[in-house]
Subunit: 150 residues, 2 copies
């Protein structure tokens, strides 16, 4: 399995494992709005929503022109990087998670900027539907495709 995953996906795996210890569940490659796709969207027990972008290298970070667009779709925003990453590059006012493929640690919390109630409700609804739809494909491997299944 490991060999099928890209470096960023391995970081995401470690992040998702670790976030469980904070009581969060997560899904990968979540689309909060058209044209945006976050690496990890995590949902906490009180409905908290955290976005974690996983960067495997300096180049991976420097070619990301979209991250500021993610801030308005979460309560807290984090970068996840490995131990070799030059963390001085990362902008102020963002959270930092050190990760590898197996686990992770929150080094610096992202500052809280709470979602409006209506947006949180909409995001949790979408999170629920996406997670259940993906789970369905696993639990029923012969699930017929729907016309709108991309």
């Amino acid at each position: 399995m490991d060999q099928d995953l890209q470096p960023g996906q391995l970081l995401a795996r470690g992040v998702s494992r670790h976030l469980r210890s904070h009581g969060f569940v997560s899904i990968e490659e979540f689309v909060p709005a058209r044209g945006l796709r976050v690496d990890v969207m995590a949902l906490g027990p009180k409905g908290e929503l955290w976005v974690v972008e996983c960067k495997s290298s300096r180049a991976d970070f420097q070619t990301d022109s979209k991250w500021q667009g993610y801030l308005e779709w979460c309560d807290r925003y984090f970068w996840a990087v490995d131990i070799a990453f030059p963390t001085d590059l990362l902008p102020e006012g963002t959270g930092l998670i050190m990760a590898d493929a197996y686990d992770a640690e929150i080094i610096r919390m992202g500052p809280e900027d709470k979602l409006a109630t209506a947006r949180r409700k909409k995001l949790i609804q979408k999170f629920a539907m996406d997670a259940a739809r993906r789970l369905h494909r696993f639990r029923d491997p012969r699930l017929p495709a729907l016309p709108d299944d991309a």
Copy 2:
């Protein structure tokens, strides 16, 4: 895979497949509250919550003493049965779905009895967390157990 599933689970599979065509996602064996476990909890695009209890036989239905307790945890309640089931047994004021292992059809809508806002919010949050937690075990098969993983 089919041979691992009980008759009720095969009905649930057909129900879950069919509900997609109504825009609903679903998870099985959802626990809305301590001591209750519903066969299928379905979530619609507007946050609608439907409970579907799958009954594979007269005996299966007659030994169910809990179903009335499910009514307060959904907007609509349905039975799912196969073509051989004596549907005259089923109580008035409930929905009816004819199902087999492959698909299903809504014969009679369950009457709508809308959840209160706070309960709906809590249920969708739990649905999201349960679905993501189960999905996580599939996408990361070597996910270490947590102390509270039952």
